[in-house]
Symmetry: C2
Subunit: 478 residues, 2 copies
């Protein structure tokens, strides 16, 4: 496929050069002393008193040259590993919402570890999803088990790759111990580290924080998979200019690459700069704005210039219900990002600007994912000549429905949806006049009512529960 884009090669060079200028002239504040030391070691200038580092262009170019072209997400089940960009588009849930719309009542409440178990089951059972980014927080987490209360129900109920973050090295170490228990030992886990770590080490504008940055370094030092997202917000933390925001976000990404390659040259990365715009009437975060899609297209075009996979949070919505706005904001942004070349989509399930998970929304987004996978698959131009005999045989005024060719291709050539209605008005009213939100919520309930084929074995589970006394149950179920 040829991707849509706003820029020619000269334009891309101009943005890249602006980013280099930002890194050389303005630089970043780096709060971690360890990070400053690593950056100094590869040739950055460090003003320790002001925590400011500046990065020469040649240091950036040297770091970019050592990054491999792909990033692998591993699942508990190796058959579900995915690599981007090869397996593009890869669809994931969006993550870390505090609230959930209860799957039975629809009422908004704080999310719990049981919700995580149920979402894990739903993601595992939904062919649209490739990756489970842990969608919600767990209000019921016991003291000291904040991250275990999220990763345990997720890994227990989903054999696809699981992705999330931890707030501290202590939590991170507990999660890694969980991984080793599931793998059956440290060696087995080191061979296939199937927990996919993610942080936001760069806070726009131009600041590397302490805790996330040190978690990234910790993981890279041990050869474990990790990548970072950067989220400039035009008007608040970056210029109210799309190209200006691209230049800033791109500079922040390049700085993160320099740090990551300084820790371990050859570490894979994802170009996950997820720029948005603020609605300056109120200062509101607007993830569903069309400019968010445009910024993703711009970043994906820059990622291709660097030969790197791109994407992340895209296709989100400010809607509080699974309604028309939720549909068009998600659909438009995700489609634009796909055609702009993004590889990774943390799209599924969230409403209200990332504050609430909705099971029906996750089902709809799973169907949108399948539509976009069909779009990405494209079409075979050789079919044009290949159909000449058929077209001549059917002739003017003939019917293709009777042709064997039609029966043979109807399931591969066109995606057949589960949620979208194609019934007549009478057929639809006869079936209860359910809107898409209701049909999707019903489908979620149906899936959650089935046995979870991906659930972890009892023996392994007992081992985990013994190692972590007081752990949440982690069981899916309504």
């Amino acid at each position: 496929m040829h991707y849509a884009g706003f820029f020619g090669n000269d334009d891309l060079d101009a943005v890249h050069n602006a980013s280099l200028r930002i890194l050389e002239a303005t630089g970043l504040r780096v709060q971690s002393a360890g990070a400053r030391e690593l950056l100094a070691g590869v040739g950055c200038s460090v003003d320790a008193s002001r925590e400011r580092i500046r990065i020469p262009a040649k240091v950036v170019e040297r770091a970019m040259a050592t990054i491999p072209p792909s990033f692998v997400f591993r699942g508990r089940d190796p058959a579900k590993d995915i690599s981007i960009p090869e397996d593009r588009p890869a669809f994931a849930t969006a993550s870390s919402a505090p609230f959930v719309n209860d799957p039975k009542t629809g009422e908004r409440r704080y999310a719990t570890s049981r919700d995580i178990a149920n979402i894990a089951h739903l993601v595992d059972a939904s062919p649209g999803y490739d990756l489970f980014s842990i969608s919600v927080l767990a209000e019921d987490s016991p003291p000291g088990q904040l991250s275990l209360s999220r990763f345990y129900p997720a890994l227990k109920n989903c054999s696809k790759p699981v992705r999330s973050n931890t707030p501290s090295i202590k939590d991170l170490e507990a999660v890694l111990e969980l991984g080793r228990l599931i793998a059956g030992g440290a060696e087995a886990y080191a061979e296939r580290p199937f927990i996919n770590h993610h942080y936001c080490p760069v806070i726009s504008p131009l600041t590397m924080d302490l805790s996330s940055t040190e978690s990234v370094i910790y993981l890279l030092e041990r050869g474990l998979p990790v990548y970072g997202s950067i989220v400039p917000n035009a008007g608040m933390t970056s210029p109210m200019s799309l190209a200006g925001t691209l230049a800033l976000g791109n500079a922040e990404f390049l700085a993160l690459c320099v740090l990551m390659q300084a820790v371990r040259p050859g570490s894979p990365v994802i170009y996950a700069v997820l720029s948005t715009v603020a609605d300056m009437r109120t200062g509101a975060y607007a993830p569903g704005a069309i400019e968010t899609a445009m910024l993703q297209m711009g970043h994906s075009q820059l990622a291709r210039r660097y030969g790197l996979p791109s994407g992340g949070y895209i296709g989100l919505s400010g809607a509080h219900q699974n309604d028309a706005q939720s549909g068009y904001e998600t659909g438009m942004s995700a489609t634009a990002a796909l055609l702009g070349g993004a590889d990774l989509f943390n799209t599924g399930g969230l409403l209200g600007s990332l504050l609430a998970f909705d099971f029906g929304k996750a089902v709809i987004d799973g169907e949108i994912a399948l539509m976009l996978k069909r779009l990405a698959r494209g079409m075979d131009p050789r079919d044009a000549a290949g159909c000449l005999g058929l077209i001549d045989e059917v002739g003017p005024g003939g019917a293709y429905i009777e042709q064997e060719h039609t029966a043979a291709n109807m399931r591969s050539e066109a995606f057949l949806p589960r949620i979208a209605t194609r019934d007549s008005f009478d057929g639809w009213t006869g079936a209860g006049s359910r809107d898409a939100a209701r049909r999707a919520a019903d489908e979620a309930l149906r899936i959650l009512g089935t046995r979870n084929e991906a659930a972890i074995g009892a023996e392994v589970d007992a081992r985990i529960r013994k190692a972590f006394p007081g752990l949440v149950p982690g069981e899916a179920g309504l």
Copy 2:
């Protein structure tokens, strides 16, 4: 902008050559004797007994060479004329639904001429729309005034370009007389023919009909604006193969070009091949299928090969309500078509696979149109360097909200929606927890409650009503 596309130049040539083969080897059935005569006159072979014509490649190439690169839609108000592709993207309503959801009760019922007047007012007042394609039929049309009952309320209440069709030459002549009465005479109308005619003269597969074909010839002979749409449906009237359907639809388009250029060389056209797929589980028409978007992208890429504007019905939905499905089907298809290079979008207002008009849906689609216009406007890469001073001044950890640059650009750089909520959950519930469908329906009622600034003058109106006794009132209002 660089458009997204599935094909390289060789692929486009392959589809084009397959289309030429179809026209030469299979040919079309042409039901109009006049059309057959015109086609024979430019070098087609005609088998009159079987109404079959075959078109040599050189005849096609000769016709394509005489088509101008743009198509102009004229409005009653010359300031509202639009030309594609120059003014791309041009947004219109989709048209000719038998039903309407009543703007006050939401109940589905047969549409009337008053609905057309109200929709005309809504379209005129909505900045997202450039063109009013008459959205519904009029159940209340008096005997013999089928088309007048549609064009009169439309032209009376909308000064933007109005587009529709007529079922017969008799109806067409009445509509042209209406145009002359509004213009103030035959000469004035001939100078600015502001009724934009549209037909479906080619019925897939490979059939030119009688009535629409003769209407097209009638209009072209008089130098009046007209274009045709062609709607292959994969699995029913074209191959269950996207590229096979492209080749067939493209052949049908080329045949229509040959006919139109035979009538009047230099007549402008729109590449409006609006291929869809059938859902072969039921045979249902599926305008919201992602394959419909893919086919539009393919046709738009072919249109660019020919140097012609493209587009038409795209962004439609099978949903019966203004719900999430309606949102994502419209949003995804229209976005894909825009990034695939389509210029014209007959997107707005219809639900239920083109069977019912919904005022709230039209409002939402008007907002989607504004989002896509923002997307098409792109961004200025020179901003990247232009923001370097600002980025340095704000520095690491600074705030852009305080910058004059932000205030100066917040309205031009980011689209500020009316319908999409960006409120917090508490703000949204505090304002009544209205979903997007309700907010849009309320906005439609607000617009319909305002005075229509575009309504035609009383003197002209009296002239029209005198010329056509018994004419429907044509008044907008609830």
